[in-house]
Amino acid sequence: MTNAARHEGLKAARLLMVLSSISPLFVLWAIRGNSLIPDRYFLAFCVVMVVAPNAFLWLRVRTARIQQDRRQIVVGTAEDHRDHLLVYLFAMLLPFYAANLGTWRDLAASLAAIGFIVFLFWNLNLHYMNIVFAARGYRVFTVFPPPDDSPFTGKGGQVLITRRVFVSPGDRLVAYRLSDTVYLEMDR
C-alpha cells in the first residue's frame, strides 16, 4: 500500500484535538499564575490554549454532522478505556501542575516536556482522551470488528466515544468521524 493510503489523515485536526485534551492543564496554570510572565500575557496564552483547541474540536464535530461524515461500525469486541482517563489525569495533568515554573529554564523544560507529550499523543492517536467528553457523560471504547471471512474487513481497532455504558459484540453503531480512527456516537 502506498504512503497515502497507509497514513492517517486529518493531521492538523488530530494535533488540535491533542491540544484540546491537554487544555485542562492550561486552566490550572492560569489559576496558578506565573512569576516570570505578567498575568495579562500568561493568562492570554492560557486562554488561547484552552479556547482555540476546544473551539476547533467543537468545529470538527459540527463539520462532521453537517457533512454527514458518519459510518457504520460493527462491534466484535470492545475494550472500555475509563482507566485511560485516570492515567491521563495522574500521569500528565497533576505532574505538570505541580511542576515548578519559577525560572525560565523550568518553564522551558515544562514546555518542552509538553511538546514531547503532544507529539506522542498525536503520533499514537491518543487524541480521544479528552476531559470535555468525560464531563459530558461520554465513555471511550476501542472497538474491533468481529471475525469474518472477508479479507477486506478492517484489521485495526477504532476508538468509539459514546454515551453507552456497554458496547456489546454484534452491535452495529452509526458514529461521526472525528479522525480516521476516532468516532463519536451522538444520536441514539
Partner: protein
C-alpha cells in the same frame, strides 16, 4: 425481483475505492461530504431504475453467456462466482484512507455502501473507467466567457454502478464490470474441481476427469462447466439423447465400459451441448444447419 433495502431511510452512505498497489487488492473508505453522498444515493437509485427498465424479472447470471454491455442479471450472494464482490459487501469497519486519492493511478474500482434504518446494507460497485480516465484528460470550464483549464484534481463518477448487492443477491447491470471487479475468470477456474465434481455426480455416465483437467487450463471450458452446474439439470439428462445430440452437432465422443469419453479437442463442443448452446435446424429440407449460441434464453412456452 425486489431490492432488500429501503431507499427512504438511508442512515449511512459510505464511499470507497478498490486499489491494487502490487501487494494485493485493498478496499478503503474515502470520506465524502453530504452533497457527494446525496449524488451517490441518486446514482444507486438510477442503477436500480435502469435494471428494472431493462428486465424486472432478471435471469440468473451465467458465466458462459455472451452478454450485452447492459443487461440485468442476478446471482445469489452466496454463489461461488460472487465470492470476491461478496467479500466487499460483507466487510466490516473498512479502513478509512482519505489520502488514497492523492495517488489514484492504482484505483481499479469505486464503491458506495449504504445502510438503511433497519441496518440492511446495499453496496454499489463500479469499475473505475471514467474515474481513472479523467486523470489523464485535460478538463476545461467556463470562467466568464472564456474556457480555462481545470487545475484541481477531478474525479468523475459514472452515471450508474456495474452492480448492486443486498443481503440476498448480486444485481448485475454491466456484466463486463462484474466480471472485471469480481475476478470472474479466476473464480471460474478456481471452481473447476468443485463444479466438475458436482456435474460428474449428476452425469455418472460421462468420464469427467479429462474434461476437468482441460477446464483447469481453459477459461471457456471452465465457464461452460460453471454454467452447466448452475442449471442443476444434470440428473435429468438422458445418455442416449446426449449421444444423439453430440452426433448431430459433430461432436466426436467414444464410449468405453459404458462411460462417455471426450477427447481433449472436443471438450468445449461437448460442454456446449450440455449447456444447450449447440443445435441444428433443418428449415430447408435436406440441408441441416448447425449453430452455436453465444447467448440463449430458455423460453417458458
Amino acid at each position: 425481483m425486489k431490492l432488500d433495502f429501503d431507499f427512504a431511510t438511508v442512515a449511512v452512505t459510505e464511499f470507497g475505492v478498490g486499489r491494487d498497489d502490487g501487494e494485493g487488492e485493498r478496499f478503503l473508505l474515502v470520506p465524502v461530504d453530504g452533497e457527494a453522498q446525496s449524488d451517490l444515493r441518486e446514482i444507486v437509485a438510477t442503477t436500480w431504475r435502469n435494471m428494472q427498465e431493462l428486465e424486472p424479472t432478471p435471469r440468473r447470471y451465467e458465466p458462459a453467456e455472451k452478454h450485452a454491455p447492459s443487461e440485468h442479471f442476478y446471482l445469489p450472494i452466496g454463489d461461488d462466482l460472487a465470492e470476491r464482490v461478496r467479500a466487499v459487501h460483507q466487510a466490516n469497519n473498512l479502513t478509512v484512507a482519505g489520502g488514497t486519492l492523492s495517488d489514484p493511478a492504482n484505483v481499479f474500482c469505486y464503491f458506495v455502501r449504504m445502510t438503511d434504518g433497519q441496518g440492511r446494507r446495499l453496496t454499489g460497485l463500479r469499475r473505475a473507467n471514467q474515474f481513472k480516465g479523467i486523470l489523464k484528460s485535460r478538463l476545461l470550464r467556463f470562467v466568464s466567457d472564456a474556457l480555462t483549464l481545470v487545475e484541481d484534481d477531478v474525479f468523475k463518477l459514472d452515471n450508474d454502478f456495474d452492480l448492486l448487492m443486498d443481503a440476498s443477491n448480486v444485481h448485475i447491470l454491466h456484466p463486463s464490470g462484474f466480471e472485471f471487479v469480481g475476478h470472474l475468470q479466476d473464480a471460474v477456474l478456481r471452481a473447476v474441481p468443485e463444479n466438475g465434481k458436482a456435474v460428474q455426480g449428476d452425469l455418472t455416465f460421462v468420464e469427467f476427469a479429462s474434461i476437468q483437467t482441460y477446464a483447469l487450463k481453459h477459461a471457456r471450458a471452465a465457464r461452460l462447466l460453471a454454467s452447466i452446474r448452475s442449471q442443476d439439470e444434470g440428473k435429468r439428462i438422458d445418455k442416449a439423447s446426449l449421444k444423439r445430440h453430440c452426433k448431430t452437432n459433430g461432436i466426436e465422443i467414444r464410449e468405453t465400459k459404458g462411460k462417455i469419453i471426450v477427447p481433449e479437442d472436443q471438450v468445449v463442443g461437448f460442454l456446449e451441448v450440455l449447456d444447450r448452446r449447440r443445435y441444428e435446424l433443418e428449415l430447408v429440407k435436406g440441408s441441416p444447419e448447425r449453430f452455436k449460441a453465444g447467448s440463449r434464453q430458455k423460453l417458458a412456452k
